[in-house]
């Protein structure tokens, strides 16, 4: 880490790392390259157990047009591929893809580096045999990763990794509880930092930061209370816009938000089955299926629980799973009397068009 980050207090440290987003991973990991990964369905625990640090791949710049992907592909995939082709990720210890959508499946197939791993979890999380299948895939992946690391899979190391990630999830849960009383970009940046910085350091910093954050927390007085749901957001642009326009994100169901941290791995069970079990128990993303009403039920309950005044469903351009779910989720939430804005964005950075739409939406609340 840079000296300025080392000298910062815990909140400043987390904000700086969170703001760095997808750029400059080498500064965060001076002791050796981390292991890059896409999607929360990639099991960080396995990576940690082998002595690597998991590093979520987020694009530094969304304006990229790599020749090997057509224009009708989401900006996250295009930007990450462009960065990879430019050699930005060449030194990573490896790159892992949690199979989610057709785009991530394709990106994994054309990723330009060796040391690329794909995990294919079940889509139908509660289908017969899904848990056993998922556990078997995790076991296979762990063996392959261990081979890459030149180590033997070590159950004790895996249990330690589970304890660490559980600790982080619990701390992130406490932060999420404070969310209505904290500026939205601050919370999103701190949660993002938990996906891109060394995990022991993150846990320590977050634990140290929570009292300071609790002290600074204040009622959102007069701000419109929003639930936002959507894909991975690589920066705080949308959160900053919402805060600027007088809103507050009181509940967050984005891929890089609290959904990434929700649920705990059972520490008293066989580790791999327990990791699979956590994925089966947490609220599903649009790429997974539990039952038809799973996501609408979850989001409706979340909105009620956090007393949201409205909901913004973010759809990244060309992201099919979120675009599909936006229809059914919006219908359900509107049916419950909640105003909903489906906001299509090219990247995580809102432009004037998005500002106008959000502004109009907030005025209607």
């Amino acid at each position: 880490m840079t000296s300025s980050i080392e000298q910062a207090g815990p909140v400043q440290l987390l904000l700086k790392v969170g703001a760095s987003g997808g750029s400059g991973w080498s500064r965060l990991y001076p002791e050796g390259p981390p292991f890059g990964y896409f999607c929360s369905y990639w099991p960080e625990e396995l990576v940690l157990s082998l002595g690597w640090e998991p590093y979520r791949m987020l694009p530094a710049s969304a304006n990229a047009t790599p020749g090997r992907l057509p224009a009708f592909c989401c900006s996250l995939a295009r930007a990450c591929l462009a960065a990879a082709e430019a050699g930005e990720y060449r030194e990573l210890a490896g790159v892992g893809f949690g199979h989610t959508c057709d785009t991530i499946q394709s990106l994994a197939g054309i990723w330009p580096h060796e040391r690329t791993f794909l995990l294919v979890p079940p889509v139908a999380l509660q289908a017969p045999g899904a848990l056993a299948y998922h556990t078997a895939q995790l076991a296979s992946l762990w063996r392959r990763l261990a081979g890459q690391a030149g180590k033997e899979p070590d159950p004790a190391a895996l249990r330690r990794a589970i304890r660490l990630t559980n600790r982080i999830r619990a701390l992130a849960g406490r932060l999420d509880e404070m969310r209505p009383r904290l500026p939205s970009p601050l919370v999103s940046a701190i949660l993002r930092a938990g996906q891109i910085m060394p995990r022991e350091a993150y846990a320590a910093a977050l634990e140290a930061a929570l009292p300071e954050l609790a002290g600074a927390a204040a009622s959102p007085q007069g701000r419109r209370r929003l639930l936002i749901s959507g894909p991975a957001l690589e920066n705080d642009g949308l959160y900053e816009l919402l805060e600027e326009l007088g809103a507050r994100v009181v509940a967050d169901d984005t891929c890089t938000g609290h959904r990434h941290f929700t649920g705990l791995v059972a520490e008293d069970e066989e580790p791999l089955a327990a990791i699979a079990g956590r994925y089966a128990s947490i609220p599903a993303c649009p790429c997974r299926f539990k039952h038809l009403d799973d996501r609408p039920d979850h989001l409706a309950a979340l909105a009620r629980d956090r007393e949201a005044d409205g909901v913004i469903l973010v759809v990244r351009k060309y992201c099919d799973p979120h675009a599909w779910d936006a229809v059914s989720v919006a219908k359900r939430l509107r049916g419950e009397g909640l105003p909903v804005l489906v906001l299509e964005m090219q990247t995580a950075t809102p432009g004037e068009q998005e500002r106008t739409r959000v502004q109009a939406f907030l005025e209607c609340l």
């Binding site: 992907l69 057509p70 139908a124 017969p128 899904a130 296979s140 799973p321």
Partner: protein, 407 residues
């Protein structure tokens, strides 16, 4: 003076028309005749194991086939607009949008839309979209949704994945037993497997006849005549249809008849057809003596169920289909086709509606060109939504490609 006709139509086209008309007529009135017989109607994806449903006496319709039909009849844009007005993004699959548009506005849809389903069966071996599409249908129709989750096969199909799919197949069978009130008869399942395999074998042989020079078929023939292997697989009607088609195509080979008169170039097509230009697009090629002698898409229905335990065979076959495989598999597939069919060049349809097919095409193109030395062209279009089709840029690219082929 009229331009010389370079394209030889198949006599079987009339038989195909009769076969498909009968299928859609029976489907349209299925509620009248099927209900008294206790035969539910399922909507099912093209890559789902239909043999099981047929063994239960469940009748099936294919929204994907219907989407292709909407594309070919050029009504897809209007139906897509209906779906878009209901909130579905114009970037989503045009088969799905056409299908949902037809559900919402049957008055705009060919044949008044498909008859409403009693159940839905989705298998995600072709894409992730079908699951979201069928979720939307299940929410609309409020009928049971059966899901067969076939994990993507990046390299080799592993035993854990087969066992997972097998468990779901057993669960599907149990679900159908509850729904129909009937037990699965293994003899009937075997009969359906045999019928399915026989049609698939014939379809594979018909495709194989295109090894001959000149090729007896052009890819529009394959696209048009694949309909029964999709919608009637596992029935005597499909077997009868493909026997007849095989005889006609074999006779063409015997007589040395070419699908494209004066065949000069033998090409390979990759991806689904551009249905609203199914003949006009390929005319650009046939006018210059270029015949698409094979393709990657219609071959997806040429994989026979392997012998052995029928359910395990089914789990392996349906999980291992080409659209559920990684880049290496797809490259090998194209390289093999180029070698086997003596192909001079290939054209890839970068299909906005089909991401798993299209997003890896440029990588495949580069690797295939490297391995074979055969040139490849990518054109961007959509399988059913003609609003995104830019005629002139596509024509320019095609002409330049054909000029290059001519050296």
């Amino acid at each position: 003076m009229a331009a010389e006709r370079r394209y030889l139509p198949l006599q079987s086209a009339r038989y195909l028309e009769r076969t498909m008309k009968k299928y859609y007529l029976l489907t349209r009135y299925q509620k009248l005749w099927g209900r008294p017989l206790g035969r539910p109607l399922a909507w099912i994806t093209s890559g789902a194991p239909v043999e099981i449903l047929r063994a239960f006496g469940v009748d099936v319709v294919y929204p994907e086939n219907y989407g292709a039909l909407c594309g070919a009849r050029r009504v897809a844009p209007e139906l897509c607009k209906v779906a878009e007005a209901a909130g579905y993004s114009p970037d989503l699959c045009s088969y799905a949008r056409s299908s949902l548009g037809a559900v919402l506005r049957p008055d705009l849809a060919p044949m008044g839309g498909l008859p409403s389903p009693d159940l839905l069966v989705v298998c995600n071996n072709i894409c992730g979209t079908v699951l979201k599409w069928y979720e939307a249908l299940a929410a609309h129709f409020q009928v049971p949704l059966f899901i067969l989750d076939t994990p993507f096969v990046a390299e080799e199909l592993d035993d854990a994945a087969v066992e997972y799919v097998l468990e779901q197949v057993r669960s599907l069978i149990a679900g159908l037993e509850r729904l129909t009130g009937r037990r699965l008869r293994s003899a009937e399942l075997s009969r359906r497997f045999e019928l399915s395999n026989e049609a698939v074998r014939l379809w594979g042989e018909i495709r194989s006849l295109c090894h001959h020079r000149p090729s007896p078929l052009n890819v529009p023939d394959l696209f048009v005549h694949m309909a029964p292997i999709v919608v009637l697989r596992g029935t005597p009607a499909a077997v009868a249809y493909y026997r007849r088609l095989y005889d006609e195509v074999r006779e063409r080979v015997r007589q040395g008849q070419a699908a494209v008169a004066g065949e000069r170039y033998r090409l390979l097509w990759d991806n689904i057809a551009i249905w609203y230009r199914i003949y006009n697009f390929y005319k650009e090629f046939s006018a210059r003596g270029a015949c698409f002698v094979t393709d990657t898409y219609t071959g997806g229905w040429a994989a026979e169920l392997a012998p052995g335990d029928p359910l395990e065979s089914l789990a392996r076959t349906y999980t291992g289909i080409f659209l559920n495989r990684g880049v290496d598999f797809r490259v090998r597939q194209m390289v093999d086709l180029i070698r086997d069919y003596q192909v001079d060049g290939f054209v890839m349809h970068s299909n906005r509606s089909c991401k798993p097919y299209s997003l890896i095409q440029e990588e495949i193109r580069r690797r295939v060109v490297n391995k074979t030395g055969v040139p490849g062209l990518i054109i961007e279009a959509d399988m059913a939504d003609s609003r995104v089709y830019a005629e002139e840029p596509v024509r320019n690219r095609v002409q330049a490609f054909l000029e290059n082929l001519g050296g």
